[in-house]
């Protein structure tokens, strides 16, 4: 029997289920999981309010309270429609959203109010997924429609939208701005999962060796090239390196899960690197990002427009935090009304977390993300249907990569690019899309775990 955290957790659950006294039902565990979230959010708001001394008012407290009420509403919905779903995914997502709303509140109370509204929309999307997608084969059937939708979503900002830091990331919809990459990432995963669920066996069965490398037949290899092309398109036309890494990385993870061929992943990585190096030397926007990443403290790059100023300031904020952090509300984000840390509520929110909660707090946040990833992959392992399995694995991989791309950007593991920190960064599209992602994972989980329960496996 294989060992590892995933198996250990599964074994514990089995033991719990076999024990006649039924320690706690899954849903009650979920409810108890929300308790620490409630405490953390209350403590966070209290911390920020204490720092602000004079500005304590009831309205700000109601945001925190409303947030918790909505968490509870979501939980009741899960009890009703997804009773067998994994009990930890929802509280972990709520914990992340709670950290987000406290941090955004700390940066700007007005933005926190908007964030809370988006949180409501996100929950609505979550409920909608739970209500409408009881049968996930619906997604499988409309895979090409969904893929086409993803393409349109990705190209729209280039046609209509605005430029942020030299990248076309937004669509302006009157009063609301929309970042399509957030929803497109889900659509792409659905398409690739559906495609690979059908063709994975054929790809492996009919593969041939070429120059010592196992290659799938061109017929099935084609879609891989298409996704690679999409990633490159993102890189050059949308100028969004972050999303490009996220999409392509998620695709490679899926390809690996579907075929079990590491050689495909290596080949895919090589293709991505070659493409990246080519565009780095030819496309100014990409090259500038890489220069800023290599030498953020070079004064010329630091003061250049679109230079390394943002990443350097993010590093300074982290240095200011130290091991234990400056404390909630104690980072210096503005001086005399001028920003010290630009895009603190979106791209650089992780730097604010390190600054205020320190290295220890940041590692705790990363652990929450890792637990979420663990639950997502656990769900994939429990699922029996190939599409559901690939869908859960793909969504989780994209989620994990998104965290890696933005935190890695802020900490200079990789060049900094503008993707959001899921559930924590300010941003409507991101919150809504990630709730859709959670909804899909919960639907997969509900189905898989019910089958296990009914089959007496759990």
């Amino acid at each position: 029997m294989a060992t590892g955290p995933l198996e250990a957790a599964a074994r514990l659950e089995r033991l719990a289920a076999q024990d006649g006294r039924a320690v706690l039902s899954a849903r009650n565990r979920e409810l108890f999981g929300l308790l620490p979230v409630a405490l953390a959010v209350a403590a966070g708001f209290a911390g920020v309010l204490i720092t602000r001394e004079a500005e304590v008012n009831d309205a700000t407290l109601t945001y925190g309270l409303a947030f918790l009420v909505f968490c509870l509403v979501g939980h009741l919905f899960v009890r009703w429609r997804l009773p067998d779903a994994d009990p930890y995914i929802y509280p972990l997502a709520a914990a992340l959203a709670g950290v987000g709303i406290v941090m955004v509140y700390r940066i700007d109370p007005e933005l926190a109010r908007e964030q809370a509204q988006w949180f409501v929309f996100g929950l609505a999307a979550f409920v909608a997924v739970g209500l409408l997608l009881r049968d996930l084969s619906l997604l499988e059937r409309y895979r090409y429609t969904i893929a086409a939708g993803a393409m349109v979503l990705l190209i729209m900002p280039r046609l209509t939208g605005g430029v942020t830091n030299g990248a076309y990331l937004r669509i302006d919809l009157g009063p609301v701005e929309f970042q399509p990459a957030e929803l497109a990432k889900i659509a792409v995963v659905i398409f690739v999962a559906a495609y690979l669920a059908d063709t994975r066996e054929l790809m492996v069965t009919y593969e041939r060796r070429f120059l010592g490398v196992s290659l799938p037949p061109l017929r099935y290899f084609g879609p891989m090239l298409v996704v690679w092309a999409i990633a490159m398109l993102l890189l050059v036309f949308i100028r969004d390196l972050g999303s490009s890494v996220m999409f392509f990385g998620g695709f490679l993870a899926l390809l690996y899960v579907a075929t079990g061929r590491l050689s495909y992943v290596v080949l895919g990585l090589a293709m991505f690197v070659v493409g990246f190096l080519f565009f780095e030397s030819t496309v100014g926007h990409v090259g500038a990002r890489v220069d800023a990443w290599r030498n953020p403290l070079d004064p010329d790059l630091y003061y250049a427009l679109g230079g390394s100023g943002q990443i350097a300031q993010g590093m300074f904020a982290q240095a200011d935090g130290g091991v234990l952090g400056a404390g909630l509300g104690q980072s210096i984000l503005t001086a005399g009304g001028d920003p010290v840390l630009p895009a603190a509520q979106t791209d650089l929110i992780y730097a604010v977390v390190v600054n205020e909660l320190g290295f220890v707090g940041a590692v705790a946040l990363l652990l929450v993300y890792l637990l979420f990833v663990q639950r997502g992959l656990k769900t994939a392992m429990l699922a029996t249907d190939p599409f559901n399995k690939l869908l859960a694995a793909g969504l989780t991989a994209v989620f994990a990569l998104q965290v890696f791309v933005i935190v890695g950007g802020v900490t200079r593991v990789i060049p900094l690019t503008g993707v959001t920190l899921p559930f924590v960064s300010y941003g409507g599209s991101s919150i809504v899309a990630n709730f859709v992602l959670v909804g899909l994972l919960m639907v997969v989980s509900d189905g898989a775990r019910r089958r296990h329960r009914e089959g007496g496996l759990l």
Partner: protein
């Protein structure tokens, strides 16, 4: 597929471990070096979140204080200087955007209340806030005001030292600047481009030819080595060949055989040039070094604001072995360039019986409640000459005030001592006066200089010294 999924999980673990390592790198491992980066404004901004201690005159008048602005978590403090231009040079300024200068820079740590690393970690764990200290200076507002008014807009400086303690009650450089103007970049740019160079410190940064005030140094070397007595007689005819070129007395006057006392009283160039040649350049430079020449003055101001006095060329000190015209050095010519602060130290050393004390602007530090936390003691005492030599020079310098070139510095009812100087320069005279009072028990030593004047040390600088000393001895 589950095997692959498990591997994907471990892949994610590896990626996240990388994130943890890099977070540790910036927040812990390289935190200190990032904080020192000149691009990083956060450490300075953090210091400005708390008020800085005030800088006070000796009578507890406010030279610099902190005012609060902003709201919420953007509260910060900035500096205001209620006395405007009066103490611009010694006090300096301190702003987030511009850094600091003067006392503000030198005593930054105490004014902010910064402590060493270990103590500050302990304090943060115990929830103690760092405590800004008030800086009490020796600066005397009325006397400073009188000195500024006495200069009456003429370019120059006045500096006063208390001989026994080294305290500096007067430190005036004209044209001065208002530290409040440095706050915005336009004001700073204006001050920087001003033809009068108001940001330039004419007490400690400018070095001028000292003229005849330097004869006090020559007299010290001559008498302290035992080669001469005040009554020693030297021929004072004019001109005399010095280093192969003729040297004249003021007005071309020949004084015949006269004593050193009379030669100082009437500032006879030919006598002191001969004495200097007799003493020799090695001994002259040795005594200059005892007085503090050839090093930056040990005053409590930032090093970049201080110039070393001595034989200089192109702003650099000449090496000791450079051949010099020691006869002309002895009368304050040649390539001599000295700061008024150095000349005030010469006067203070004679006044203090031959002991040189480091000049000090700061007197003590107090906490918020006014309790003294730290007292600035008398520092760096060097014996320059014997007490007997100092007594003889004191008397010789009294004669200068009584019947010589320095009568305009005489005080009503108080004996004082001094020496005038006038150096001829391309654009007018550099007028000097150095001295101290009361002569019997000196309390204040002074140096006054005025740039580009048509007058003499005795007519231009001496009256300024009289007004300032009169005020201090009020």
């Amino acid at each position: 597929m589950n095997v692959a999924i498990r591997r994907v999980f471990w892949g994610v673990v590896v990626l996240f471990a990388l994130l943890v390592v890099y977070t540790a790198r910036w927040s812990v491992i390289e935190s200190d070096s990032l904080k020192r980066s000149s691009l990083n404004k956060i450490p300075a901004l953090r210091e400005w979140r708390d008020p800085r201690g005030p800088i006070l005159t000796t009578e507890r008048g406010t030279i610099a204080r902190s005012v609060r602005s902003g709201s919420g978590d953007d509260v910060h403090y900035s500096r205001r200087y209620p006395l405007d231009v009066l103490f611009g040079h010694p006090a300096g300024y301190s702003y987030v955007t511009r850094g600091g200068s003067g006392l503000e820079k030198y005593y930054d740590g105490q004014l902010v209340g910064r402590k060493d690393e270990f103590v500050s970690v302990l304090d943060s764990l115990l929830g103690r806030k760092r405590e800004a200290q008030s800086l009490v200076t020796a600066l005397d507002e009325p006397a400073q005001r009188v000195a500024r008014q006495a200069l009456a807009g003429r370019v120059g400086s006045v500096v006063v030292i208390e001989p026994r303690t080294g305290r500096v009650p007067v430190y005036v450089s004209v044209p001065g600047y208002d530290p409040n103007d440095v706050r915005d970049s336009d004001g700073y740019a204006r001050l920087n481009s001003d033809d009068g160079s108001p940001l330039f410190d004419r007490v400690a940064t400018s070095a001028y030819p000292p003229g005849s005030t330097f004869k006090v140094v020559t007299a010290t070397a001559a008498i302290d080595t035992g080669a001469y007595r005040p009554s020693s007689v030297v021929n004072g005819d004019s001109p005399k060949q010095i280093s192969g070129t003729p040297l004249e007395n003021s007005g071309g006057k020949s004084w015949g055989d006269i004593t050193l006392t009379d030669a100082l009283t009437h500032s006879v160039n030919t006598v002191w040039a001969q004495v200097g040649e007799d003493v020799g350049s090695d001994t002259m430079i040795e005594y200059m070094k005892r007085f503090g020449f050839y090093e930056k003055p040990p005053i409590d101001l930032p090093s970049d604001q201080l110039a070393a006095s001595g034989l200089r060329e192109h702003g650099e000190l000449l090496p000791d072995e450079t051949p010099i015209d020691v006869g002309r050095v002895a009368i304050g010519q040649e390539r001599l360039a000295v700061t008024p602060l150095q000349m005030a130290t010469v006067a203070a050393t004679v006044a203090n019986g031959g002991l040189r004390v480091a000049p000090r602007l700061a007197v003590s530090f107090e906490d918020r409640t006014g309790r003294t936390k730290d007292r600035v003691g008398v520092k760096r005492i060097t014996r320059v000459m014997s007490a007997a030599t100092a007594r003889k020079l004191n008397e010789m310098m009294q004669n200068v005030i009584r019947e010589g070139t320095g009568t305009a510095a005489a005080l009503a009812g108080i004996n004082s001592a001094g020496k005038t100087g006038t150096a001829e320069r391309a654009r007018g005279n550099q007028a000097w006066f150095i001295g101290f009072a009361p002569a019997e028990h000196p309390r204040y030593a002074i140096a006054v200089t005025v740039e580009q004047t048509t007058g003499q040390g005795g007519t231009v600088a001496a009256p300024i010294a009289r007004q300032v000393l009169q005020n201090l001895l009020r």
